[in-house]
């Protein structure tokens, strides 16, 4: 059995670890590129959102590499994501592919069904207890990856030599990949963070503080947003972002990467959006309020074109913006979106933010 599943940011680091522990052969699709998207968009319904189109591209590339089993995350709405898998399976079968298809539904939905999915992957030897242990270690690794990426977004704004932070991040990633036991992972995580902190920085530099909020796929997958975060870092912008892979996998945990418990974020959203609308709709609003209170200079909202929860948020943002006096730039992406247009809009936005603060930006490529 050769398993594949779609990319989402650095999720594959964690999957590598997980499948390794389960003794399952993991066919990692080639990194997402324009080619992936072109293939995906060609076979997807026109009005499906960008993540689905990229998923289809990943799956096709994985199948062509010999994968015979596809895994897709599930969910129970109301946003479209939880139904992606069913539609993706239909599309791929209509294209003539033959495969085994598995939807991984959230743990909270039924521990037995969740366990069964893994049982099928690794038959015979897997007890519920063993699975739980494996998941815990892999998850710890995932969190360590999230932590180093989070730190990178902050340090890059201050780096003295262009590219140092990214180079340190690659080193740090390698270090984490090699860690195996929980202790090793924790140790490697600390060292990895130190590596990034040791990048030569200019503490005097006055930087803009920008919050990135929006739909999870667009936030987690740099390909889908043209590597916006890295580009912003090089322009000298300190970034915090509201969604991380491990927060997304296990939402509502107390020690979130983003740093705030779900209840706090929801509470901040309540005066504007007092109900869950699926996806990150409510989190987007709550995070904007939180970041505004923490004196961020501005917010960038990222979403796939047509994303329902984010469109609801976008409809409400003007009111939040007025009440909290915080500039928000909304960027919607689909396969037609060009990088140049996005960068132009972002630059204009940063100019606005700098002008508001009476600041001129000095990044490492400025």
């Amino acid at each position: 059995m050769k398993v594949t599943c779609p990319h989402m940011g650095h999720l594959h680091w964690m999957l590598d670890d997980l499948f390794g522990r389960l003794g399952v052969e993991y066919v990692k699709p080639p990194p997402t590129t324009t080619k992936t998207l072109t293939i995906g968009a060609k076979h997807s319904p026109e009005f499906a959102c960008l993540p689905l189109k990229i998923n289809i591209g990943n799956f096709i590339q994985g199948l062509d590499m010999g994968a015979d089993t596809l895994i897709m995350a599930g969910g129970h709405g109301p946003c479209r994501f939880g139904y992606y898998g069913i539609v993706e399976e239909r599309i791929l079968r209509d294209l003539g592919y033959d495969f085994r298809f598995m939807m991984l539904e959230p743990f909270g939905d039924g521990k037995w069904a969740f366990y069964k999915t893994f049982e099928t992957l690794s038959p015979g030897s897997l007890s519920l207890r063993k699975l739980w242990k494996i998941l815990k270690v892999s998850f710890t690794k995932g969190r360590a990856f999230d932590q180093i990426h989070k730190r990178t977004l902050q340090v890059r704004a201050y780096e003295v030599n262009h590219g140092d932070t990214t180079r340190a991040l690659r080193e740090a990633e390698k270090m984490l990949t090699q860690a195996f036991t929980t202790e090793e992972i924790e140790e490697a995580g600390r060292e990895a963070l130190a590596l990034i902190d040791n990048v030569e920085q200019d503490p005097e530099r006055r930087v803009l503080k920008v919050g990135i909020v929006g739909e999870f796929f667009l936030l987690l997958e740099p390909f889908s947003n043209f590597g916006l975060e890295e580009a912003l870092g090089h322009m000298g912008v300190y970034i915090e972002r509201s969604v991380w892979v491990t927060d997304w996998i296990a939402p509502g945990r107390d020690n979130k990467i983003y740093g705030f418990h779900k209840d706090i974020v929801d509470g901040k959203a309540a005066p504007y959006l007092n109900h869950n609308v699926g996806g990150e709709g409510r989190e987007t609003i709550g995070s904007i309020v939180l970041m505004a209170e923490r004196k961020f200079d501005g917010i960038i909202q990222l979403l796939p074109f047509g994303c329902m929860p984010e469109n609801i948020a976008t409809s409400i943002i003007p009111k939040v913006q007025r009440d909290h006096d915080i500039p928000v730039l909304t960027l919607a992406f689909d396969e037609q979106t060009g990088r140049a247009g996005v960068i132009t809009r972002v630059e204009a936005f940063l100019d606005l933010l700098s002008a508001r603060r009476g600041l001129s930006l000095v990044g490492t490529n400025a």
């Binding site: 009005f47 898998g85 609801i312 409809s315």
Partner: protein
């Protein structure tokens, strides 16, 4: 006190229920007029560009009631059955309208929350509490208002299943009457698939229903089939659809194709409609495998009349040329 119900979105599904319920609470109910150019352009102006056309129209209908009512009825319909949802936009609708309410000087909103996702009977208490908290009714009075409303809704659904359409029963939104040009025996049965707020809104769909009738179509709509049958028919997928209204659409197309009840299907979907964009894949697959011609029509606020007429003409012509008529079973 006068309460306004916008003639958009769930109006087409639940008007008899809501209207009776509010009237029983002692309120005067006013509905907005048929969608027209002004209403839609109001909506388009205030709404986020990426929203679907029916939600844009909803904003416009709220504006149309401005100055005429003391409050707007904008319920938060989260779920109408266990383990399912409506479209996310229905969950956020009161917040979306509230975000522009000051700017547009809209009257206060009445936003009861209806959620049957966990417990199917829950919505009764939600409405009883709404009546108590907002209007000081006793539980007993609220219960009787609820019962009257439930009866009105049942009658409505009974008439629909008996073959009448929301157009016949709700204040009509036909723009003109069909002039039958085509002999009865030559007419074709066309299943018209889509959300009620799209297919029955004559303005948004460029009077699609009347046009189809004029071209010789005997229309079949999902409302003509009992809800339980629709739900039953929609279970041929490995994972239950969790949007109730899409499930109805899926159920209708499965029902029609299985029983060969229609010669062709026209599927109307709103541009940027999230659930429909996925369900479309399943519907088209179903029609293909059952050899039933299907045409998808995507509508938005820019949909031109000319393009629409050409497309439905071509489609009905194609059906007319097909020789063998399907046999009706149901």
């Amino acid at each position: 006190m006068r309460v306004g119900i916008p003639r958009s979105l769930l109006y087409y599904k639940y008007l008899p229920f809501w209207k009776t319920f509010l009237a029983e609470l002692g309120l005067e109910v006013e509905t907005s007029p048929l969608t027209n150019k002004k209403i839609l352009s109001w909506g388009v102006e205030v709404a986020e560009n990426e929203l679907c056309v029916p939600v844009k129209a909803f904003y416009g209908h709220c504006m149309a009631l401005r100055g005429k009512v003391d409050a707007l009825f904008v319920p938060r319909v989260v779920s109408v059955e266990e383990r399912a949802y409506t479209c996310p936009k229905f969950l956020g609708l009161p917040d979306m309208v509230a975000a522009v309410a000051d700017q547009l000087e809209l009257p206060p909103l009445l936003t009861p929350k209806l959620n049957q996702r966990e417990k199917p009977r829950e919505f009764k208490w939600q409405l009883i509490n709404f009546a108590r908290e907002e209007f000081g009714l006793s539980v007993l009075d609220a219960v009787s208002a609820l019962e009257a409303a439930t009866r009105a809704q049942k009658d409505y659904q009974k008439s629909l299943v008996a073959g009448r359409t929301p157009l016949d029963l709700l204040p009509a939104s036909r723009l003109n009457r069909p002039r039958w040009k085509i002999e009865k025996k030559e007419r074709k049965r066309i299943g018209l698939l889509g959300h009620p707020y799209n297919i029955y809104d004559g303005y948004i769909t460029q009077n699609l229903i009347a046009r189809l009738e004029e071209m010789g179509a005997d229309l079949v709509v999902p409302e003509m089939t009992d809800h339980h049958v629709l739900m039953q028919e929609a279970t041929d997928v490995p994972k239950q659809l969790y949007w109730t209204y899409e499930k109805e659409i899926m159920g209708a197309v499965n029902h029609w194709t299985r029983n060969r009840m229609v010669d062709g299907v026209i599927y109307v979907l709103a541009f940027a409609c999230g659930p429909d964009s996925l369900v479309q894949v399943l519907i088209e697959h179903r029609a293909r495998t059952h050899n039933v011609p299907l045409m998808s029509l995507t509508i938005d606020e820019h949909s031109g009349e000319a393009g629409l007429v050409t497309r439905i003409e071509a489609f009905t012509d194609m059906l007319m040329r097909k020789k063998k008529p399907a046999e009706a079973v149901a």
